[in-house]
């Protein structure tokens, strides 16, 4: 049993629940069990998994799925779009894309990585990092950052906008685009579109590099804190290309242990079930994936930026690789595991994404018009895997003779990070909550650890007027002792 996962006598303990009540498919909740001295005995992150995703997809025509899945998540629709279409390539009988089609898909994907990482860092993480975990909660937001750091905030807006424009030019629309279809893409890039993006990309690269340096500076200002906050040792997993380089669009699965040793390498992702399996726990709807050969106790892993930059042998773009080396130097040859290092790694990936976008725009193939591959024999089953902004994303489908999806299984990035996020908040609870009076600032420490993973807890729906955060203190008999709410204005 993991540290602080299950208390030995929960009936004697007080229960605190940090419970964001917003968003339909993204309802996450943290519960802590404390004794009379506020000593922590149990910490759990419960996530109501993406309920109904599979049911939503099953029964639909397979060619419709790459568009339909974009409605699963308003945060990373492009990632679902591309993972689904990779699976449908196989089902429809397309084995190898044309160079132009693959490069256009890559351009779309790296545009998504750039905009997602930018919005996470500048919008979600920077308020904590720049203003302080314990700063006034009503100012701890992007607007507070904008007031104190206007240049940084403006760059965040424009980086995000640039990434969105890449998506629009490659998919045809801001949302609900149909750019990728089984066998290729349905929209060529015009020279005017290419030139427009090319004119802006050098500045984006510069800003992305500045963002990396900003995170580095923050870490170096207080290394003992930044390097160890929410730290725990774990395995790591991600896609790499055939040379072992970081590849966010396509590759083989590689897993390393906490010391950097290889667990498996270049695994064909269509055989993922040979190396991974999921465990169910009674206290959460969300499954716990782990490496089959190691079992659930020691086989869990983390995914996403911090895992990816350490799973790969190198990043195949110059500036990002230099920054990766700076980050890894912290470990003195061993992997680093602090939760806040995710932010550093995320900005390195944003820089890499900007460099890749530049290189793709300079590639003559990007203006090609040969968009569809040759078709061969149709298959019943298809598996598509991609490195989404938050980590490895699996889409697995089976289709009947009637072309309707009869089986759908998604393992999303947040699910892959389930155990890792639980470990992070347990580390934070043990360090910062144990034996102390619960305050909004302490609650936020736990949220900071979760946010480092950028989990997709809230996505494609919203409703004005819902309560963002509620914390209940309940005694051992389940009676409510006190309730704290953070209202929509952020006041506790």
């Amino acid at each position: 049993m993991a540290f602080l996962e299950t208390a030995t006598s929960p009936e004697k303990l007080r229960r605190i629940a940090i419970d964001p009540l917003t968003r339909v498919e993204g309802h996450g909740k943290v519960t802590l069990l404390l004794d009379a001295e506020n000593k922590v005995h149990q910490v759990r992150l419960h996530i109501v998994e993406f309920r109904g995703f599979e049911v939503f997809i099953e029964g639909r025509p397979f060619w419709e799925v790459p568009v339909t899945v974009q409605r699963l998540c308003g945060i990373c629709p492009v990632s679902h779009h591309l993972a689904a279409v990779k699976a449908m390539d196989a089902i429809a009988g397309y084995r190898r894309l044309t160079p132009t089609a693959e490069k256009l898909r890559r351009l779309m994907h790296y545009g998504q990585i750039l905009q997602s990482h930018a919005v996470h860092f500048f919008h979600l993480a920077s308020p904590d990092l720049l203003l302080g975990f314990d700063s006034e909660p009503t100012r701890r937001n992007i607007v507070g950052v904008a007031a104190e750091y206007p240049d940084i905030a403006k760059q965040g807006v424009l980086l995000r906008k640039f990434g969105q424009e890449v998506i629009r030019h490659t998919s045809g629309k801001r949302i609900h685009g149909t750019g990728a279809i089984p066998g290729g893409v349905n929209k060529a890039l015009t020279k005017a579109e290419r030139d427009e993006m090319r004119a802006g990309i050098d500045e984006m690269i510069l800003w992305a590099r500045d963002a990396v340096r900003l995170v580095e500076k923050l870490h170096l200002s207080h290394p003992a804190f930044y390097n160890t906050f929410g730290e725990f040792r774990s395995n790591m997993m991600g896609l790499v290309d055939r040379h072992g380089a970081l590849d966010l669009y396509h590759g083989g699965l590689r897993a390393r242990d906490a010391d950097g040793g290889t667990i498996f390498d270049h695994v064909d992702y269509t055989t993922y079930q040979d190396v991974l399996q999921e465990e169910v726990k009674p206290w959460t709807y969300m499954k716990f994936p782990h490496i089959k050969a190691l079992g659930p106790e020691t086989g869990w892993y983390k995914v996403g930026p911090l895992a990816r930059v350490q799973v790969c042998a190198f990043i195949p773009s110059e500036l990002a690789e230099n920054e990766r080396k700076n980050l890894l130097a912290l470990g003195g040859g061993k992997p680093v595991h602090g939760a806040l290092l995710y932010h550093w790694a995320r900005m390195i990936e944003a820089l890499h994404a900007a460099e890749v976008i530049r290189d793709l725009l300079d590639d003559p193939d990007i203006l090609g018009t040969d968009l569809m591959a040759d078709k061969s024999e149709r298959q019943e089953e298809g598996i598509g895997v991609i490195e989404a902004p938050r980590g490895t994303l699996f889409h697995h489908y089976r289709v009947g003779d009637d072309d309707l999806v009869k089986f759908c299984r998604l393992i999303v990035s947040t699910t892959n990070n389930n155990q890792a996020m639980n470990e992070a908040i347990r580390a934070v609870a043990a360090e910062y909550v144990d034996g102390r009076v619960i305050t909004e600032g302490l609650m936020n420490h736990i949220e900071v650890a979760i946010r480092a993973y950028d989990p997709c807890l809230s996505c494609a729906t919203h409703a004005i007027g819902q309560m963002p955060l509620e914390v209940d203190l309940v005694d051992g008999d389940g009676a409510l002792v006190s309730r704290r709410r953070k209202n929509f204005s952020g006041a506790a």
């Binding site: 309920r51 308003g74 904008a146 007027g465 819902q466």
Partner: protein
């Protein structure tokens, strides 16, 4: 008067799609001199879409909104926060001022009461009725594109 209209939400989630559905009505009606923006949720870069416009309208669905809909003027608010990736429209207006450095246009929110937000759910029967009511109201707004006239139509929420 240049108008920008935002409709946001997810039409695969029942009444959450009321904003985009209203936006689609505006598109069908071919209003002149209008920019239409649809998205799953509001984000920081939407502030850029307000640049150069003289009037802005946000179309949304709300769980706790008085039925059938509420219409109000909104202003930049720097103190709104959130725990997710989405921004309130008031925060988008605030980003226009800081850091982007321009004054947002007079802005209004038309929020339609929604009841069902589950993935795969269709628009509810009540949601469909409210959509029609909101569209009648919206057509009248479109006919007189004037902030003073719109202020006179505020529903009090």
């Amino acid at each position: 008067m240049k108008l920008v209209v935002f409709g946001w939400g997810n039409s695969a989630r029942g009444d959450d799609g009321l904003g985009p559905l209203l936006l689609a009505r505006v598109a069908q009606a071919n209003w002149p001199d209008v920019t239409l923006i649809e998205d799953f949720q509001l984000q920081i870069e939407h502030a850029l879409d307000l640049q150069g416009s003289e009037l802005a309208l946000f179309l949304d669905a709300g769980r706790n909104t008085p039925a059938p809909f509420a219409f109000r003027e909104i202003h930049p608010r720097a103190d709104l926060t959130h725990t997710s990736h989405a921004l309130a429209p008031e925060s988008v207006l605030s980003i226009c001022e800081t850091p982007l450095g321009f004054k947002p246009p007079p802005s209004f929110l038309l929020c339609v009461r929604g009841d069902t937000f589950d993935l795969g759910a269709p628009l509810s029967a009540q949601g469909a009725r409210r959509l029609e009511q909101a569209w009648l109201f919206l057509r009248e707004l479109g006919a007189e594109r004037n902030p003073e006239v719109w202020r006179a139509r505020i529903t009090g929420i």
